[in-house]
């Protein structure tokens, strides 16, 4: 399943708010140009697979890269299988959850939403 934006196929879509927060955290790490976020999947979490976000400006040759709202979203090929169609948002506020994934591939999600199974 794939989503498109302006005719471009996306693996992971990020919201404007998520992009702003990524830029904010990148700035904290001293990255102001070429801001990117690596979105990956790791084994673990309550349900078997868990999301992993890393601020980076380093692309890998095998990455699928799409720039959205001024942020390069990089997804490795293996993680892409689990993430295609996923939307990344940011839930702000005192009781906000931070970065929140909406993943159409997830059949089950744990209570805190950071782990899933397919």
């Amino acid at each position: 399943m794939a989503i498109t934006q302006d005719g471009v196929e996306l693996g992971v879509a990020i919201s404007p708010m998520a992009a702003e927060k990524i830029k904010y955290f990148a700035g904290k790490q001293g990255i102001t140009d070429n801001v990117g976020v690596r979105v990956a999947v790791k084994g673990g979490g309550c349900s078997g697979l868990t999301y992993d976000l890393t601020i980076t400006d380093q692309e890998l040759p095998s990455d699928k890269v799409v720039e959205q709202h001024g942020v390069k979203v990089m997804v490795d090929k293996k993680s892409f299988i689990f993430l295609v169609g996923t939307e990344l948002e940011f839930s702000d506020g005192l009781n906000g959850k931070g970065f929140v994934f909406s993943n159409p591939n997830a059949k089950k999600t744990c209570g805190c939403g950071t782990s899933f199974s397919v």
């Binding site: 084994g43 673990g44 309550c46 697979l49 199974s117």
Partner: protein, 348 residues
């Protein structure tokens, strides 16, 4: 003492009796025993992410294991059920995973399923290595004698390289309070020489009959009987092998909820039976005519003839001292001696 050195080879089934079951039982429980533990799986995990991934997939905290240290941990499904209880040994440049007998392929497949980007290679070395168990309160002295070193400072699940009978081996401490022993790993070729050296130091070869009785008497669950996808670690009395503070692992949410809300439905208990009672795995246990449990393993203590068993019993009835009745076609009474808690009661 005759050594009765067997031609050890991996996957060899333990003989029923080597010499005499009563003497073998006494060796395990109050002397020094040696047995072939080669049917336990041995996996070699290489790669920078080995401990990190295992920490994310199992119940205990293993991410910070230093070289020479180890820990037991339980691989659980996302429903919190048991895949296997394994022991992880950090031997510096790789980790060794000791699995239950026959579980090595399932464990490898499980690790492979969740290895996405991690630097991890897992190799089954069960057939290219052998493993002996040296058990009983005298095990340490016997091994110190044959290895020419002190094991006093070796912590539980710690491992140390040694020479036994001119063969390089890895000695692994497995010092559970009710089930103290050591594993000795080496090449297949080394095993007969190691076996001979340890028996010459006083260890008595122990077969399946005495081993099974001693295991049940110590309340040690095994895969397929007390551990499986039908049970969670809390039911199996393995709470002392769960780190409730380390964060997420597969099954953590279910296990934490069961513990927090006291929702454990049944517990593994140790049973003793009256004289002459015949009991087999699968036997139903009743209280006031209602089925409240099921026997999972049973044995006769060779020295006394006492019949003992492990069984899952509903939480309400799983009380020390309680009396249960065997369901038809068996007949007789069982007394609950206590809960099986292999790694202790856990932290309050």
């Amino acid at each position: 003492m005759t050594s009765q050195s067997p031609a050890l080879r991996p996957s060899r089934a333990m003989p029923g009796v080597y010499s005499e079951a009563a003497a073998e039982y006494l060796a395990v429980t109050s002397g020094v025993a040696i047995f072939d533990a080669s049917t336990n799986g041995r996996l070699k995990a290489t790669g920078a992410d080995a401990l990190d991934l295992l920490n994310r997939l199992s119940t205990n905290k293993v991410i910070d294991l230093q070289p020479g240290r180890g820990a037991p941990t339980i691989l659980t499904t996302d429903r919190g059920r048991i895949l296997d209880l394994i022991t992880i040994l950090n031997t510096d440049d790789h980790a060794i995973l000791l699995t239950s007998p026959g579980a090595q392929q399932a464990v490898m497949a499980w690790l492979d399923k969740y290895t996405i980007l991690e630097d991890l290679t897992v190799e089954d070395v069960s057939c290219s290595t052998a493993m002996l168990g040296v058990w009983g309160p005298g095990a340490r002295t016997a091994l110190e004698t044959v290895a020419g070193l002190s094991l006093a400072e070796l912590p539980a699940y710690g491992s140390i390289e040694a020479m036994v009978g001119n063969h390089p081996v890895l000695i692994v401490s497995s010092q559970l309070p009710a089930w103290p022993g050591y594993y000795v790993m080496g090449s297949v070729e080394a095993a007969p020489g190691v076996w001979q050296a340890v028996t010459e130091a006083g260890a008595l070869p122990v077969g399946a009959e005495a081993y099974q009785a001693a295991r049940i008497n110590a309340g040690v669950p095994v895969l397929g009987s007390e551990m499986s996808d039908d049970y969670n670690p809390l039911e199996a009395g393995l709470i002392g092998c769960i780190d409730f503070a380390k964060g997420c692992y597969i099954g953590q949410e279910v296990i934490a909820r069961l513990d927090t809300y006291s929702k454990v439905q049944k517990y593994l208990v140790q049973l003793s039976f009256g004289p002459g009672v015949s009991v087999a795995p699968g036997a139903t246990l009743l209280q006031d005519g209602r089925a409240v449990g099921r026997v999972t393993s049973a044995a006769t203590i060779p020295t006394t003839g006492q019949v003992i068993a492990l069984a899952y019993v509903r939480t309400k009835q799983a009380v020390s001292g309680a009396t249960l009745e065997l369901g038809s076609p068996a007949a007789g009474q069982a007394s609950i001696e206590g809960l099986s808690q292999l790694f202790g009661p856990g932290e309050e």
